[in-house]
């Protein structure tokens, strides 16, 4: 079976519905284990930071959600482009299902960042470059969701929001760069930098576990939400009536 046949088969709603249903536990269980292990390692086992004390532990939620908010936006834009170019409805469904997840991660990142800012910078909110570009990313998600809900017709909502997602992804680096240039107070990167991570393994390993766990959590959530999207879009299809009752 060639890649294309496989791809086409995956893009058919009934097939995807079945596969995604089977995949959910494979994503969800490791995600739960990794997040539980990572949070235990990060919140309980890891030593306090020599400079930031206990407050640094927020990174175990903050950094993975920042990463996921970007991953979600990229996934959304790529899925939207695939849907727009090859007219694959399932890709549109994935984009639509991803937006609220990404917006939640962006909000979680903002909230944890502000909680961390209180003891560290002495304010809940600082007009720092990374916080601000995260906020603008959150606004982009809001705009995307607002545009989707403004259309009654699903097909037009799909295509219009796809154009917006593509315009958005072209703008994300520009926004990031311009805000960076505008004002930077955020600490530099600790994990990915020249000369290896500036973190002992007892801190780094739980963090990497959280990164992997959050990413798998997104995969599980995406499967659940795309299945719901498929149900909504295919509500009159015969294959749904032939499904065994859950």
């Amino acid at each position: 079976m060639g890649t294309w046949t496989w791809f086409h088969k995956l893009a058919s709603p009934p097939h995807f519905y079945r596969i995604a249903g089977r995949l959910i536990p494979w994503f969800a269980v490791p995600a739960a284990l990794l997040i539980a292990g990572g949070l235990y390692g990060g919140l309980v086992r890891a030593p306090p930071d020599y400079q930031q004390g206990e407050a640094f532990r927020i990174i175990y939620v903050h950094a993975p959600s920042a990463w996921l908010s970007l991953v979600c936006y990229t996934t959304m834009a790529v899925a939207a482009a695939v849907g727009l170019i090859w007219r694959i409805k399932l890709a549109h469904a994935l984009a639509a299902a991803t937006a609220p997840i990404g917006a939640s991660f962006a909000l979680l990142c903002l909230a944890t960042g502000s909680l961390w800012g209180r003891p560290m910078w002495g304010t809940w909110w600082e007009w720092d470059a990374r916080l601000t570009s995260q906020l603008i990313l959150f606004f982009l998600y809001l705009g995307y969701m607002a545009l989707r809900s403004a259309y009654d017709d699903l097909g037009r909502a799909d295509r219009a929001s796809a154009v917006l997602a593509i315009v958005g992804i072209v703008n994300v680096p520009i926004i990031h760069f311009s805000v960076d240039w505008w004002n930077s107070l955020h600490q530099g990167s600790t994990v990915i930098r020249k000369g290896g991570p500036a973190m002992p393994p007892s801190m780094l390993v739980p963090l990497l576990m959280c990164f992997a766990g959050f990413t798998l959590l997104y995969a599980a959530l995406a499967c659940i939400r795309v299945r719901a999207e498929v149900l909504e879009r295919e509500r009159n299809a015969t294959w749904l009536r032939e499904l065994p009752p859950a």
């Binding site: 727009l84 705009g143 607002a146 037009r156 219009a160 154009v163 311009s178 805000v179 240039w181």
Partner: protein, 229 residues
């Protein structure tokens, strides 16, 4: 099917000239956003007090925010009337590349919405006690920035054509994308205010304008086609 006899240049010129002519006949479409611009700037001294040193510190930001809001308001007139009377549909069916025609339309819109702001800006800057040395930089930054705003806005306006309550929704879509323009425009003016060279942000604005002119018409034409479905 008859062959297309109008060349690209001629087609673009016809669209451009038509929009200018229409605007000169319905002058309020051009004048209302400028009046709005002036009024928003007036709000700040009223809200914050007439202290000249305070106003001078904020002048760059205030003028730029007002220009951004006013250009959002002006976007209503870019496609709405042509969408409602069917002109946009005829442009799509004309056999000319739609992106090219929309480029001409958006250029006309930039002239009509940007130039009045550029002309009004020195007066407003003076009213906010800004030194006269910044006028050149302020006008240049507004001329470049309103171009980027017109092109970004043309995508937002085209995307919201087919929806109810397009205006507020369009603002939600365009504002986050427009924030870099605000940053560079206000910063260029700010630097000129402090006697520093402002060429850096101005060049960045120019680069963004070129990028917007290159890419935005394609997105707008895709959006217009979706709205016409």
């Amino acid at each position: 099917m008859s062959a297309v006899t109008t060349g690209l240049g001629r087609a673009a010129w016809l669209v451009f000239e038509r929009d200018l002519r229409l605007a000169f006949r319905r002058w309020d479409q051009v004048s209302h956003p400028v009046v709005f611009f002036v009024m928003v700037v007036t709000l700040f001294p009223l809200a914050l007090g007439p202290e000249p040193s305070l106003l001078r510190n904020m002048a760059a930001g205030v003028v730029w925010v007002a220009a951004l809001l006013s250009s959002l308001l002006a976007l209503e007139s870019l496609y709405r009337a042509d969408f409602e009377d069917g002109t946009l549909e005829q442009l799509t069916l004309s056999g000319q590349p739609l992106a090219w025609l929309l480029l001409a339309k958006t250029l006309a819109h930039w002239f009509l919405s940007g130039i009045p702001l550029v002309v009004a800006a020195p007066v407003l800057a003076a009213s906010l006690a800004a030194p006269s040395t910044v006028v050149g930089v302020l006008m240049t930054s507004l001329a470049l920035g309103t171009g980027v705003l017109s092109f970004l806005g043309s995508v937002g306006a085209a995307l919201t054509l087919g929806t109810r309550r397009g205006g507020v929704l369009m603002s939600l879509l365009v504002l986050p994308l427009a924030m870099p323009v605000l940053i560079f425009g206000a910063r260029a003016t700010e630097q000129a205010m402090h006697g520093e060279p402002a060429a850096g942000p101005l060049w960045l604005l120019a680069a963004m304008l070129i990028l917007a002119i290159t890419l935005a018409p394609w997105a707008s034409s895709a959006a217009v086609r979706i709205s016409l479905d």
